[in-house]
């Protein structure tokens, strides 16, 4: 990893607890994320990883705990507020807009940056059109960056799974986020696709300085690309540290040996 420098704590999660009826998805979880780092969340299926990400970007509201983003408490964040605060995410079950083309999907990621109002758009001249073009240029950069030029006009529903995941990432990048939350970006991919995705994540982190919070099932991948790792199991935090520290943690070892994968 090149010249990037890991900074101060940008996102601090304190004593987060979340339950669904009787299911305790997260129990008193605390960890922090530093600026410019790649922070992974790992753990067996059902450990609460996705729930954690959903709490961070306001899809779920925890019953207890505190989310501090750049020193500001966000007790009542919803996912729109999270987007405004500079958080972008991808989804475990790809949540692209199925009816729209790749380009349109990525353009939706520019929504917060657009200023032209409805009336200007309704009339369609001048401001709105110029703005659309400027955003289009930015989107084309992202398309080039992720090497998806050839599918620009394809409706996303027709793309193979691996490419859909890439478009999902592109849409998140179009938001120019400070923090990027990725929920299993490599699940269901073949080895080559996984390598590509790893490279993109590292490049985003390196070139744009984007902080990345990454959920991954595959230990090997995670250990390679992340700076620090949180390990969850049955809603509890059982490990936190550098990949080497986590690998040597007996609780982690037994959780992974205990689970059938």
């Amino acid at each position: 990893m090149s010249g990037r420098k890991i900074g101060e704590v940008i996102l601090d999660l304190k004593n987060i607890s979340l339950s669904f009826g009787g299911v305790k998805a997260l129990q008193n979880i605390s960890f922090d994320v530093r600026e410019h780092e790649i922070r992974a969340i790992i753990g067996p299926n059902g450990a609460g990883k996705s729930s954690m990400l959903n709490v961070i970007n306001g899809v779920y509201r925890p019953q207890e705990g505190d989310i501090i983003l750049r020193g500001v408490h966000h007790a009542n964040m919803d996912s729109y507020g999270a987007a405004k605060a500079g958080l972008a995410r991808t989804f475990q079950n790809i949540a692209l807009f199925k009816g729209m083309s790749v380009l349109d999907n990525i353009m939706t990621g520019r929504n917060l940056k657009m200023k032209a109002n409805m009336l200007q758009q309704a009339i369609w001249f001048g401001v709105a059109q110029r703005e659309e073009l400027a955003h289009r240029l930015k989107v084309e950069e992202i398309i080039d960056f992720l090497e998806i030029q050839h599918i620009r006009k394809t409706p996303v529903g027709r793309l193979p799974y691996g490419l859909q995941k890439r478009v999902d990432l592109a849409r998140a990048l179009a938001m120019e986020p400070q923090i990027l939350l990725l929920d299993e970006p490599m699940a269901g991919m073949n080895v080559e696709e996984k390598q590509d995705m790893c490279r993109f994540i590292l490049d985003v982190n390196d070139q744009f300085g984007t902080t990345v919070v990454l959920i991954e099932h595959d230990m090997g991948v995670v250990m390679d690309i992340s700076d620090r790792v949180v390990v969850l199991d049955y809603g509890k935090k059982i490990g936190d540290g550098t990949p080497d520290e986590v690998r040597a943690n007996p609780d982690v070892i037994s959780a992974y040996l205990g689970a059938s994968h």
Binding site: L96, F97, T108, N111, A116
Partner: protein, 309 residues
């Protein structure tokens, strides 16, 4: 043959208005999952607003120009419908996020009653005239093709033309602008749309505003024909079977469904009416939609409903 064509054209023209109202309905359903039972009440409310303001504004301002009065009344009525949209979002929808479809449906029934009540209180409960200078006299067409030509109602023609224009304009707006794109995104996936920074509340206000505009245009057209009166809300409710026929989530479905029902009504009125008695046009649309539902529950163009797991 000429008579059949005449009926068919009449049906297509009146169907265009159903399409317009149905479009407002579909947009709301797509963007928020709300089955908007208040659409008919909105048409009535808009028509009453238009009728009364075109009467009041000349009195207030002391102008004596029908055209100016209509333009001003129309502009004020647009603002009225926007205010309705804003209030509906503020007072109702916002508090019912993530509730069951049935809850939302009941809420729109409530909105319908409130609109009817407020409308009668503010605007009165009589029959009011809307005179926007729609041509009343019929014209002959295609006299060279058919003996005697076919008779076209000019008023219906103008109405259909305006509706079609509005439908096209709205389609372009939703296909070509970033607001339209945001709306399609919300229709596709609420959660993802919010997470990338599309504000659901604002989109809801926008679709209710658009539905308000379609209601206003339909209200003015029907109102200038029948007078702005309580029964307009039932006329507009005939857009419901249109929507069922076309598929709740389909814009082209709403348009084609409207045309089918318009034509069906007119043909059945003329050809079946004598056998089953009058008034067939009142229930025909519902019956057609019901029969249709048996065979294709998702409507003509609707997506097959597959539950997410």
């Amino acid at each position: 043959m000429a008579f059949f064509l005449e009926t068919l054209l009449g049906g297509l023209m009146s169907g265009m208005l159903y399409s317009l109202v149905a479009l407002g309905f579909v947009l709301i359903f797509k963007a928020s999952g709300v089955f908007n039972f208040a659409q008919g009440a909105m048409v009535l409310f808009a028509a009453l607003s238009m009728a009364r303001f075109s009467e009041w504004i000349p009195q207030w301002l002391g102008i004596d120009n029908l055209f100016m009065a209509n333009v001003l009344a129309f502009a004020v009525s647009i603002l009225v419908m926007f205010a309705v949209a804003w209030l509906v979002e503020r007072l109702v929808l916002r508090h019912l996020v993530n509730q069951e479809g049935a809850t939302l449906l009941m809420a729109t029934l409530g909105i319908a009653y409130v609109l009817d009540g407020v409308g009668q209180t503010v605007f009165g409960s009589g029959i009011y005239k809307i005179d926007v200078g729609m041509p009343k006299e019929p014209v002959m067409m295609l006299e060279s093709v058919f003996e005697g030509g076919i008779l076209i109602n000019k008023e219906d023609f103008v109405a259909a033309f305006i509706s079609a224009l509005l439908v096209v304009a709205l389609s372009i707006f939703f296909q070509k602008t970033s607001t339209g794109r945001a709306l399609r995104a919300v229709a596709d996936d609420h959660q993802a749309a919010q997470s990338i920074g599309i504000p659901l509340n604002r989109i809801w206000v926008i679709v209710w505003c658009v539905a308000g505009i379609t209601a206003l245009v339909a209200g003015v057209i029907w109102g200038s024909k029948l007078g702005a009166q309580f029964s307009l809300s039932t006329v507009a409710l005939r857009a419901l079977p249109v929507v069922i026929l076309g598929g709740l989530t389909s814009v082209p479905g709403a348009i084609i469904g409207g045309l089918i029902i318009g034509v069906g009504e007119k043909l059945s009125e003329v050809y079946l009416g004598p056998y089953v008695g009058g008034g067939i046009e009142i229930w025909f649309a519902y019956m057609l939609a019901l029969v249709f539902l048996l065979f294709r529950p998702q409507g003509l163009f609707g997506e097959k409903i597959i539950d997410r797991v």
